[in-house]
């Protein structure tokens, strides 16, 4: 493959062929500026470097990076490009000249967009999953002798008035996942009725998951005021207290499963490095680190899941909404949701 930028250097040379003694200075300026414009940088880095573009929640240990670089011989560069949606869309907008070799973190919500636009070479491969489930503060309910909800469908009941915090489906991916959950459960347009009841029952809407979980939720470090929060099935494993028990528990029925994928980008400048990187991300050694770093379940069956996860943060008992074509309907659902909450 020719080095990028090579062509533009040729075109600028054409300017230099202009004749005329008086114009020499001028042509030099034009040539120099067009060189500048075209960004004629030496571009042979492609062979030694492999670039991964990922969502903001991607995390990797320094040991893993070193391990990959040593085994493959490629230097690893990581670009974080927003949430899963922004990431996918950016890749579509830049598909003619991809910004990286490998993508991590397109999820099942956006997979359709990635496929439609042909941004992936070959196929996306599942790399991890997480279940979006409600969590509740066990201790809060015990202290007040109130029965915790059994399902998210109970949250519209008066007993749980002003106890729940969800995340905004316009700006957060678990929020969108839960919106899709309600569409899957009630169908259109009935899901709107559920949200109206939820609103009338004093639900709190936080803009993102971190806000909801760390600021408003009573069962985590923020000691907020809401004992029920939209989070993940694995979250209680991070809230184990001195007595060896988790302060929180998850409602494990009818959760939305977010599956995340990796893949080589079509037109990647380092396909060989890309292949090695995808293999590495699916390997046992990297997958072992995923629960601890990203709070997700690895897809590799050989990967070790921490003991406290199987006890306090198991996957959901049942899932819902996976077959919805979310990317295509999302905007419509969000508009309806906004109409209720404005």
């Amino acid at each position: 493959m020719p080095a990028q930028g090579g062509h533009s250097c040729d075109t600028s040379r054409a300017y230099l062929q202009l004749k005329g003694h008086e114009l020499k200075k001028l042509t030099t300026i034009i040539a120099a500026s067009s060189l500048l414009l075209a960004g004629c940088a030496p571009a042979d880095q492609a062979a030694t470097k492999v670039t991964l573009v990922a969502h903001d929640s991607f995390a990797i240990s320094d040991e893993s990076i070193a391990q990959f670089q040593e085994a493959s011989g490629f230097e690893l560069e990581i670009i974080r490009a927003g949430d899963s949606g922004s990431l996918t869309n950016r890749l579509v907008l830049t598909k003619d000249s991809p910004i990286a070799d490998v993508v991590f973190g397109i999820d099942n919500t956006f997979r359709g967009i990635a496929d439609e636009n042909g941004i992936i070479e070959g196929e996306l491969v599942a790399v991890d999953y997480a279940d979006v489930c409600f969590n509740y503060d066990r201790v809060w309910f015990e202290e007040r002798n109130i029965t915790p909800p059994a399902s998210w469908r109970d949250l519209t009941r008066p007993a749980y008035n002003s106890l729940t915090v969800v995340t905004n489906p316009l700006s957060s991916s678990p929020g969108l996942a839960f919106l899709a959950t309600t569409v899957a459960a009630f169908g259109e347009p009935s899901f709107e009725q559920y949200w109206k009841e939820l609103r009338d029952n004093g639900v709190m809407v936080a803009s993102g998951w971190e806000d909801a979980y760390f600021t408003y939720f009573s069962g985590s470090s923020g000691n907020g005021e809401y004992p029920i929060v939209l989070s993940y099935s694995s979250s209680p494993a991070a809230e184990i207290r001195d007595d060896g028990k988790s302060q929180t528990a998850a409602l494990l029925d009818e959760c939305f499963r977010q599956t995340e994928f990796v893949g080589t980008l079509a037109g990647a400048s380092n396909p060989e490095g890309a292949k090695a990187l995808v293999e590495f991300l699916l390997s046992e050694s990297f997958q072992n680190t995923m629960p601890g770093l990203m709070y997700v379940y690895p897809v590799n069956e050989k990967a070790v899941i921490p003991a406290e996860w199987s006890e306090f943060g198991p996957p959901a008992r049942s899932n819902i909404g996976e077959d919805l074509s979310i990317a295509t309907h999302r905007e419509k659902w969000q508009t309806k949701w906004s109409a209720i909450f404005d």
Binding site: Q4, V53, I78, I79, R80, A81, N89, L93, E210, F214
Partner: protein, 539 residues
């Protein structure tokens, strides 16, 4: 006339000189705009625009810009009066101080108002619920940013007006308000219109402030373009909105510049006349202006400075120490220090290009009667940085012009954004020199280059200096285009700041405060230095 006409050779060179800026705007402005247009107009864009959602966004953009403009002008008039028509101790300091908000990166303003809003929770609980409406804060932030530009534009003209009529009216017993309404305002009309057009333009294209303070609930055309393109991949909607936005800004600009004449409020103001001191009858203007300067301009900045040193429940320098890190859970791709290096590098490249090209264009415009050429460079004035970022993102990826894979794409976009500002400053200055000195030098046998080098550039040195400074400031604070183009290791201070403030968490919040505090102190120091510099020059 012997001197009026350049020789054949000179005119050839001049034509070739035209080629440089023309190529620059053709490739970097008209091409991306054409590309966006081709993306969007393949579909039914009229239908897209008439959707209630689009109409709501367009309407909000217009009315918030109108309110921001109105409020800014009303409070700027007494400010201009006190700062340019009267004298008092500390006037120079206040002038420098009120310029800081205009020069601060918009994202820092947004950070400042995020903090400012939080201290109002108390009032909201007392029942002033309108304070929880993001619209209120967006408008307040726009007034905060634009106050100084309105004060300077109006004050600059006011300073030059005759004081005799005022004094005569005073002798006849007219109060301050009456002489303002019946004598001063009619004379200030062009300046007021000029200020109004600028404030409207800035408020209608404001991006970072609406993005942060609106939190996705309140959208203007700018943020709607951003969300349509990056969140919904709805290029048709984005392109249709680009079209409307460009229409609105171009109209505002053209209407403004035809109603107003001359000054844009950025250049140094001549204040030769001895100004009377503030007296007792100025108390309404003094109280109002003091209230605005302290309550609206100083408070948000002061709060950021305080927050920057807050660590948990105590005080310390942890937030500053964290600037070497990449935030909680490595949220950032690079550290703030690396981003500062990127911002500085972009600033040097962008301001150099904008300055050289803008000066060249102004120089050429003075020497041509071609109105069409004027228009070619005028149109980019109306374009917003978000539009440009979006256009660059989808345009420059072909094999033979791979600008997008180079870091140069960000400073190139910034140069194009700063270019109009340079032209707006340099062109009127060159016009004001008049033909005589140039014709004289030309008669003496000086070449165009010599005339520029020894006559013109010397006469407008102050303006050239200001223009280069503003180009640098625009580059450092630019956020809209960078939010599309500067990702990964190319992040700039504003893009990092946005990520920090958009993500909760004590460490990220603290880092955002620390960066903002540094920028506020830096900008204030520069402004104070500049005001000292102009003082020594005037003396």
């Amino acid at each position: 006339m012997r001197s009026g006409r350049p020789s054949g050779q000179q005119s050839l060179i001049r034509k070739l000189f035209w080629a440089i800026p023309l190529t620059f705007v053709a490739v970097l402005f008209y091409w991306p705009i054409a590309k966006i247009t081709s993306l969007g107009f393949s579909g039914d864009w009229l239908a897209t625009l008439s959707e209630p959602k689009s109409l709501e966004v367009i309407w909000f953009t217009l009315w918030q810009a109108a309110i921001s403009t109105l409020v800014t002008l009303v409070i700027a008039i007494p400010g201009a009066y006190l700062l340019y028509r009267k004298s008092f101790a500390g006037q120079r300091f206040i002038k420098a101080l009120i310029t800081v908000p205009f020069v601060l990166p918009s994202i820092v303003v947004a950070v400042g108002f995020t903090v400012f809003r939080n201290v109002h929770d108390f009032w909201i609980e007392l029942g002033l619920t309108f304070l929880s409406d993001p619209v209120y804060w967006i408008i307040a932030a726009h007034v905060f940013v634009n106050y100084s530009i309105a004060v300077r534009t109006i004050g600059g003209v006011w300073a030059g007006l005759d004081t005799e009529i005022d004094e005569a009216a005073e002798l006849d017993g007219a109060g301050r308000l009456r002489s303002l309404l019946s004598i001063s305002l009619p004379q200030l009309r062009p300046a007021v219109f000029s200020a109004a057009a600028l404030v409207f333009l800035f408020s209608a294209t404001s991006f970072g402030i609406v993005l942060v303070l609106g939190g996705g609930q309140v959208q203007t055309i700018e943020t709607a373009i951003y969300f349509s393109a990056t969140q919904f991949l709805d290029l048709e909607a984005a392109a249709a909105l680009v079209f409307i936005q460009t229409l609105i800004t171009a109209t505002a600009f053209l209407v403004g510049s035809s109603l107003a004449k001359g000054t844009v409020g950025l250049e140094q103001v001549f204040e030769g006349n001895r100004k009377p001191r503030v007296d007792r009858r100025d108390w309404p203007a003094s109280v109002l202006t003091a209230g605005i300067v302290l309550g609206l301009l100083v408070m948000p900045m002061l709060l950021v400075l305080v927050e920057a040193f807050k660590v948990g429940d105590g005080w310390g320098l942890t937030n500053f120490a964290n600037l070497g890190t990449r935030g909680a859970r490595d949220l950032l791709n690079i550290s703030v220090i690396d981003a500062a290096a990127n911002s500085l590098r972009n600033m040097v490249v962008a301001s150099f290009i904008a300055f050289v090209l803008g000066t060249l264009i102004s120089w050429l415009l003075v020497r041509t009667k071609q109105k069409l050429l004027d228009l070619v460079f005028l149109v980019p004035l109306g374009v917003s940085s978000v539009v440009l970022g979006f256009g660059f993102l989808v345009s420059f990826d072909s094999d033979w012009f791979p600008l997008r894979s180079s870091w140069l794409i960000v400073p190139m976009a910034q140069a194009l954004i700063a270019l109009p500002m340079v032209i707006r400053l340099v062109y009127p200055a060159l016009v004001s020199i008049g033909k005589e000195p140039i014709e004289q030098a030309s008669l003496d046998g000086a070449s165009s280059w010599q005339i520029w080098r020894f006559v013109e550039s010397g006469m407008i040195k102050g303006v050239l200096f200001t223009a280069a400074g503003y180009a640098a400031i625009i580059s450092v604070g630019e956020f809209g285009a960078s939010s599309f183009l500067a990702y990964g290791s190319e992040g700039t201070i504003p893009t990092l700041l946005f990520r920090l403030i958009a993500r909760p968490g004590e460490q990220n919040y603290g880092m955002a405060m620390a960066v903002s505090a540094i920028l506020i102190v830096f900008v204030l120091s520069v402004m104070l230095l500049l005001s000292r510099y102009s003082k020594t020059r005037q003396a």
